[in-house]
């Protein structure tokens, strides 16, 4: 190792310092400057001018507390920073600082005490403008708070709506049950042709009102997401039989023939929501009866596929009724839509049945559709996947 003369060291030091100063002065994204031991500005760089707005001439010799808010100055915060840096070697913080034009910026600050042979000669200060990041963070915090509050409000509104629906459903059902039940009892009595006709009208009207109410409540529940499925073991053939039995009085009155088969390959018991399957089947079956003047209604089911323990069943309701014009077919599953406006006047109904059926089938993970020919009839079908055999609890 060669011994170096003190002169060479000093010259090298000066040369290095010059290069270093050049580098620092050109840095644009960081304010890098020196303070004397009292906190007065000694040097200034491009980054400092950009961040704080002062030129070197304007700021050199001034105390660095110029960059602080009045409040921070009142708290002697700048002095504290220097004291901590002197004591611990350095001090770091993030906080608001003031530009020359009075605007504020969010600064990330590092102050390092500079010592030569143990003696404090000043401080190196590196400041970075992080205003954009800070504003983005604050916006995120505000957004999160607003979102949380909105969610709470939405949850409450939904809860009120659900409670309202369930109360109304219950309260309306009791008097409806009285009207419908009593009207039916009267309708089987012999009251004379005219009076029997009146009673029958009361009975039919109240049944229609109830069906409308049921569909409305279900649609609203569907919208609020409060319809849940109940998985229970159920006998699929019995459900088909019940549906035929339920539409049979109306069908018999119109002289329609009710028939149907259930694919022998379909297991006796399936696991799914019996009530919802029956509801959709009934909707389709009542529609079929309503729109058919003569011929027959076929309510059947076939095995579509069986993969592992999932049985896909296709239910069909075929009629020999008026059919649906192809122009009207596209909007058939939309709520409050019937094939023709005139249909409503002629056949009644809210047009909610099919849209609700579609929603229910889709909730069960299935699909629904139809084929129809004008004056020949329509076949409505839906496919639902069931777990084969008893439900696993």
């Amino acid at each position: 190792m060669t011994e170096q003369s003190p002169q060479t060291t000093a010259s090298e030091f000066n040369q290095n310092a010059a290069i270093f100063r050049l580098l620092v002065s050109a840095v644009k994204d960081y304010a890098i400057f020196m303070l004397d031991p009292n906190g007065n500005v000694l040097t200034w760089n491009e980054g400092a001018q950009r961040a704080k707005g002062y030129t070197a001439d304007e700021i050199i010799g001034k105390h660095f507390s110029t960059f602080y808010t009045q409040d921070a100055k009142d708290r002697r915060h700048p002095q504290h920073e220097l004291e901590i840096a002197a004591k611990q070697g350095s001090y770091e913080e993030e906080g608001w600082r003031v530009r020359k034009d009075g605007t504020m910026f969010w600064a990330s600050v590092v102050i390092t005490a500079v010592r030569v042979e143990g003696r404090l000669v000043g401080y190196a200060k590196v400041t970075r403008d992080l205003t954009e990041r800070r504003i983005a963070e604050q916006q995120k915090e505000i957004d999160a708070k607003i979102l949380a509050a909105t969610n709470v409000e939405l949850g409450q509104a939904l809860e009120v709506k659900t409670r309202f629906l369930s109360t109304i459903s219950h309260e309306v059902r009791t008097p409806m049950a009285g009207i419908i039940g009593m009207a039916e009892l009267l309708s089987v009595e012999d009251l004379g042709a005219e009076n029997n006709g009146i009673v029958r009208s009361i009975f039919e009207s109240s049944k229609r009102l109830l069906q409308l109410l049921n569909n409305l409540l279900d649609s609203a529940r569907m919208e609020s997401g409060t319809v849940s499925l109940e998985n229970r073991t159920f006998p699929i053939r019995a459900v088909l039989g019940e549906v035929r039995q339920l539409v049979s009085p109306d069908a018999t009155k119109k002289g329609l023939n009710l028939k149907g088969t259930c694919d022998l390959q379909i297991p006796e018991e399936l696991c799914g929501d019996e009530l919802r399957v029956r509801q959709v089947l009934l909707n389709l079956a009542f529609n079929a009866v309503k729109f058919t003047q003569s011929g027959d209604i076929d309510i059947s089911c076939v095995l579509k596929s069986q993969i592992d323990d999932i049985t896909l069943v296709r239910f069909t309701v075929r009629d020999t009724g008026i059919g649906i014009r192809s122009e009207a077919q596209a909007k058939l599953f939309q709520p409050f839509v019937q094939a023709e406006d005139a249909t409503t006047r002629l056949y009644g109904g809210s047009g909610l049945g099919l849209s609700l059926s579609k929603q229910l089938v889709e909730l069960m993970g299935g699909t629904i559709g139809f084929e129809s020919q004008i004056d020949k009839g329509s076949t409505f079908w839906f496919e639902v996947p069931f777990q084969q055999g008893k439900c696993l609890v």
Partner: protein, 125 residues
Amino acid sequence: MTKSIILIVEDDPTLRDLTRRQVKLLGYESVAVATGEEAVEHPREEVVLIFMDIGLPGIDGGHAASIIRETELRSQSKRVPIVALTAHSDRQRAASCGIDDFLQKPALINDIKRILDKWCSSQGG
């Protein structure tokens, strides 16, 4: 020969009357009570089926059904089919109370008939 009686538990007087008339039309005798407490106390020797409303003042239909199931177990007596006849639609809870079947209001003659055929066809009138 023992009589076959349907026990009807219903707090609404109109619906109580209605169900009694529907059951009568189908050839069954009936007794009607208005509360769960009365239902639990009512002798069940001749009762072949209970139509149980769920929303009742005092103990509700589900609770009454559980008590009936407990006393049947204790006294080793026959298990009477209990069918919920209700405006509520909570089948799962009904099933957990020992209720065997579920009929939603309004129930028409055919609905009642289907239930009676299913649960007491042999005893029916």
